[in-house]
Every structure is written in structure tokens, then in C-alpha cells.
């Protein structure tokens, strides 16, 4: 990397030991290498997600964005490296501890991933039914409230197949928020949405961050979303198979490496003179 700016990440990893000491660090990723069998997807990922920020994982198609998300939520195991939540080691946690940690996550999957055999209210109510002592009427009330928060009041008894893709995503978000999670993960929230729905979802994400105070991790390649919501971005470079930039999007557009500037300016010019967004 020719740019000496602070946003450029070096791959030489510093030696780490023990729990993260920074109290504002919510998610700490250390020396993470992700691989499918012998095929390395990404290596040497090191970053910290601060409590209450909107952290965007960006990169070209097929670079391993979603794979990184799957590692963060424990669906895939790291080849090497560790993931910490606060001062708890997620990677080395025993199954019971990990299950307890996972309950503090909310995940919105790309397609919503609603359970097709359940109504929206049952979908949202499922985590409540499992993890709280609320009775059926209270669960229904909370589920209605969560659905109202995402603009789906009155759709409690619809099945996922009866509503549109954008509504399914919002219902998925209501379910992800059911237990008031500390971290919300979004996998490609704008995929398959029209520009207006996508914008509304972005606004909703920001609103949730502000009102719930949750940390938000978003995987996306949608430039408009990145500039609208991100406080910090990490750029996964498909060519070098590692992260090449970390920082606020505007700053990366101004002074990041050539690859990230090209990405953030839709491949126009060499980035710096690319159109500023918003």
C-alpha cells in the first residue's frame, strides 16, 4: 500500500494475548483466517467493532463478506484466529456458553429466513416463547409491538408466503429484535429491494441504533447504503484475500488505498476525484 494514511491496514499482526482491554470494544476480531477446507477465503483479519456503531463489511462479489458474517455469528468456525464479544471469547466458548452468547445476537438473513410454517406473530414470538416466561397473550402483545416497529402492524396472522419480499425482510428484522439484542447483524439488507424500500430499511437501521443503542454489523456492497449508514467500514479485497482498509467511508474515499477508492467510486477514475456521496 503506497498510502501512508492511518486507514491503511498492515497485515503484520501484532501479538495478542488475553481478553481485549478496551471497554468500548464490542466485537474484537484477531488474526482471523477463514477457509473452506484447504481453500482460504480471507486471512489476517484484525478489527474492532465499537459499541453502538454501525460497522459495514464491504467488498466485491464473492470476496467472503457473508462468510465473515457467518464466522461472527458462529455458523462457521475460524481456521485460525479468535473472535471476542466484550471480554468473552466466542471462538473458544463451550457450547452452552456460546448458546447463551448467541441469544444476545439478532440476525437478519438475506432472504428474511422466516419460518414458513408459522405466522409472522409466531415467528417473532418464537424466541420469546423459548427464552422468556411470558404467557401466550403477552408474547403475542410483544410480537405485535415488534411488528409495529418495523411497520407491519396488522400483519400478525399472515404467513411469510403471503407478503412481499421487502415485508418479509422487515418481519425478519422484527424477529431479530425480539429479545432486544446487543448486536444486530444484517446480511445484504438491500438485496432484492427497490431503491425506496432499501432507503427505508437503512433509515430503520439507523433509527434502531439510535433508540436501542445496539451495535450494528452490516454486510453490503450497496454504495448508497454504505455512505448513508456506516460509521466504520472494513474493505475485504478479493485479490489479496485480506482486508485492505478500515475506517469511515468518506475518509476511505478520500485517502484509502487504490482498490477501496475504486470500489467506493464505482470504478470511476482513481477514487479521489470520484463523486462525493450524499
Amino acid at each position: 500500500m503506497e498510502s501512508p494514511s492511518p486507514t491503511t491496514v498492515t497485515n503484520g499482526s501484532a501479538p495478542h494475548a488475553g481478553a481485549p482491554t478496551d471497554p468500548t470494544a464490542h466485537i474484537t476480531v484477531r488474526d482471523l483466517t477463514m477457509a473452506y477446507g484447504s481453500l482460504v477465503v480471507m486471512r489476517n483479519l484484525n478489527f474492532i467493532v465499537t459499541r453502538g456503531e454501525v460497522f459495514v463489511i464491504m467488498g466485491g462479489s464473492g470476496c467472503g463478506k457473508s462468510t465473515l458474517l457467518r464466522h461472527l455469528i458462529g455458523l462457521n468456525e475460524p481456521a485460525t484466529g479468535e473472535i471476542w464479544y466484550g471480554t468473552e471469547n466466542f471462538t473458544r466458548a463451550d457450547p452452552a456458553h456460546r448458546q447463551a452468547m448467541v441469544q444476545r445476537f439478532g440476525v437478519l438473513y438475506q432472504s428474511g429466513a422466516l419460518f414458513s410454517s408459522m405466522t409472522l406473530a409466531e415467528n417473532v414470538g418464537l424466541p420469546l416463547q423459548e427464552y422468556t416466561d411470558l404467557d401466550a397473550a403477552e408474547i403475542r402483545e410483544v410480537a405485535s409491538l415488534k411488528l409495529a416497529l418495523v411497520g407491519l402492524k396488522g400483519f400478525e396472522d399472515y404467513y411469510p408466503s403471503q407478503i412481499s419480499g421487502g415485508m418479509q425482510k422487515r418481519a425478519g428484522l422484527a424477529r431479530a429484535m425480539a429479545l432486544d439484542p446487543e448486536v444486530l447483524f444484517f446480511d445484504e439488507p438491500s438485496a432484492g429491494l427497490d431503491p425506496i424500500s432499501s432507503r427505508l430499511l437503512d433509515d430503520l437501521i439507523l433509527e434502531l441504533r439510535n433508540s436501542l443503542g445496539a451495535t450494528i454489523v452490516v454486510v453490503t456492497h450497496e454504495l448508497a447504503s454504505i455512505f448513508a449508514i456506516a460509521t466504520t467500514c472494513v474493505f475485504l479485497d478479493v485479490e489479496t484475500r485480506t482486508m485492505t482498509a478500515l475506517g469511515p467511508p468518506q475518509e476511505l474515499l478520500r485517502s484509502g488505498g487504490a482498490n477501496v477508492r475504486r470500489f467506493l467510486s464505482r470504478g470511476e477514475a482513481n477514487g479521489a476525484e470520484g463523486r462525493p456521496h450524499g
Binding site: G74, L75, A100, V102, F105, A113, S117, P127, E130
Partner: protein, 392 residues
Amino acid sequence: MVSVASGARSPDRAGAVSGPAEASAARSQDGVLVVRLAGRWHLKDGVPSTVPIEKELTGEPPRCVSFDAVAVCGWDTSIITFLTRLISLCGARGIETDRSGLPEGIQRLIALAEAVPERQGARQAAAAPSWLARIGLAVLNLREPVRDALAFVGQITLCIGKLLRGRARYRREDLLLLIQQAGGDAIGIVTLISFLVGTILAFVGAVQLEQFGAAIYVADLVGIAMVRDMGAMMTAIVMAGRTGAAYAAQLGTMKVTQEVDALTTMGMSPLEFLVLPRMIALCLMMPLLCLYADFLGIVGGMVVGGGMLRIAPLVYYNETAQAVHLIDVAGGVFKAAVYGLLVAVSGCLRGMQCGSSASAVGDATTAAVVTSIVLIITACGLFSVIFYVLGI
């Protein structure tokens, strides 16, 4: 001068200009080979062969190849295919090509096709390994599925342990629905199949036994065969095709739509939540369906006995009651419960192993039915040996 043409010349077309695709090559004095293209180039008429022009290239190689496309009156991908083939032939022989004689659209398309060089390693290895290597690879590829299947069985066992200690988490509503699907909803098809199996057994037996004047023993044959084996096995095979396949398709689709992931990240075990209720439902319903099938098989035999052999129903009933013992019925019901477990486990295993595409769901469903039927027949054979040794 050589020329090639494709397609039949249609007489109603006006003149040679709008005729079929034609390509001819002629040498000019300064070592330039001019390829003349003419007619209507359409994919549906095929792509003319480049072989005759290739001959011109190999004999005494020309300095340069140029094109004359004035007489081309219509073209599509066929002319591009022809030209790229020709150009790559020239390229391989180090002959230059001058494309200025081609229409602009064709020039641009060829340039576009050549713009990005082939990515190294993108082409899949086409060479097929020898049959010995294929056998070896197939065996090596077995390792992972076998390990997965063993791991799955182990996890299932742990789940059952949790269930017995009353700590398994699943939705009671789901279980009830699954019981209905695996039980009541299957009555129709089980009725049909087991009744027909009973009549078939009776027919086969009647033809043979009548020769000895022992027609009454049809009742013994049908009764014992249905109760000991056929009732359980036919029900199991019906359930494998019906419910086992449905389980694989349901779980496979849930994997494709990330519903299984969603459960996991809610901290709920998909095995407890999805697989366990399905296993319970089938293990509970199979013995009941088996009893029902036994009964209907005997009724089927009775109908044939009455219609063909003139055995009165009461006589038939008495003969059956004498031949069939409670231990036979219990053995059949026990087998049915085991088959139910096998069908549920293979359906769920294949569903959970499903890849992430629509065709993977189809493969999972097929594999589930095949696995269940293989397991059912194998288990049936084992049971026969064990029951024989135990003297049941």
C-alpha cells in the same frame, strides 16, 4: 479458389446475394488471402466449415488474411463464430488478420470476445480419469458423507438422551401437526397398499395351495406374512416415499432459505427443534399404521378367499386367529417402530446435508428415499435372522 456454403439454396430468394451463407478464399498477388463472405448468415442454417479455408492457410501460408463482406446481407452469431474460429487459426499460425473489410458491428463483437484473456485455471480439467482412478476417487469421496452420517447419528442419540431427561426443546404444536401428517393423513394410501398386498398374497397362495386341496391355508399364509413382515415393510416403504421424502424436502428447503441458520443463531438446536419431533412422530405413528395395515391385509385375503376359494369369512377368521399369535403381531409392530426411526433419520439426515440450490433439494429427496428403502430392507433381513435365532 475454394468456397464453402451451408444450408440449401432456396429458389424463391432473390438472387445469390440473399442466398445461404458462403465463404470463399482467393489469393491476391501480394500474398494476401482474401476471404469473401456472402449471403445470409443465420445460426439456424448452421455454421459453415472452416476446413477448406484452413487448407489454404496450411499449404503456403499467406502473409495476411483480409475479409470482404460486401455481399453479406444478414448475420448473427454464426458469422462471429466462423470468424473467431478462423482468426484463432490464423493466430496459431502467426498469420496477421486485417479486419477492416468487415462491418463495424462484427469488428466490435470480435474485439469484445477477445478483450479479456482466458483466466488461468478457469477451465475445468476435461480429461476423465481412468476407471481405476474413478473407483479410488469414489471411495475417497465416501469418507465425508460417512463421517457426517455418523456424527448425525451421534447428535441424534444425544438429543434422544435430552428428550428422555425431559430437557429437549421443541414446539408441541409442531409435533402434533407432524403426528397428524405422518399418521392420519397417511391412512388412505396405507389402506390401498395393504389391502392390495393382502389380495396379492392370497392370490399367489391360492393358486398353489388349491392344487393340494389345502386352500384354507391361504388364511394362514396371508395372516402370518402380513403380521410378521409385509404389514410393517409395506407401510415403511410407503412412509419412506411419502413422509421421509417430505422431511428431506422440508429440511433441505429450510437450509436453502437459511431458516436452519436462523434457528441456530437464535440459540436453538435444529436437531432438537426440527429433527426430534419428526422422529417422534414417525416412531409413534408407524406401529399404529402397521397394525392397521395388518388388519387390512387380512381383510384383503379374506375377500380373495371368499370370492375365489369360497371360504366363508368366519372360517377364514378362525383359521387366521389360530395361525397368528400375539408374539407375531408384537414382532411386526416392533419392526414398524424401528423402520419408522430409520425413515425419519434418513429423511432428516439427507435434508440437513442438503446443499444450497433447488437441484440439491431434489437430490436430497431422492437420496432420502433410496437410503430409507435400503435401510428398511437391510433391517428386515437382519430381523429375520435375529427372530429365527430367538425362535420367535
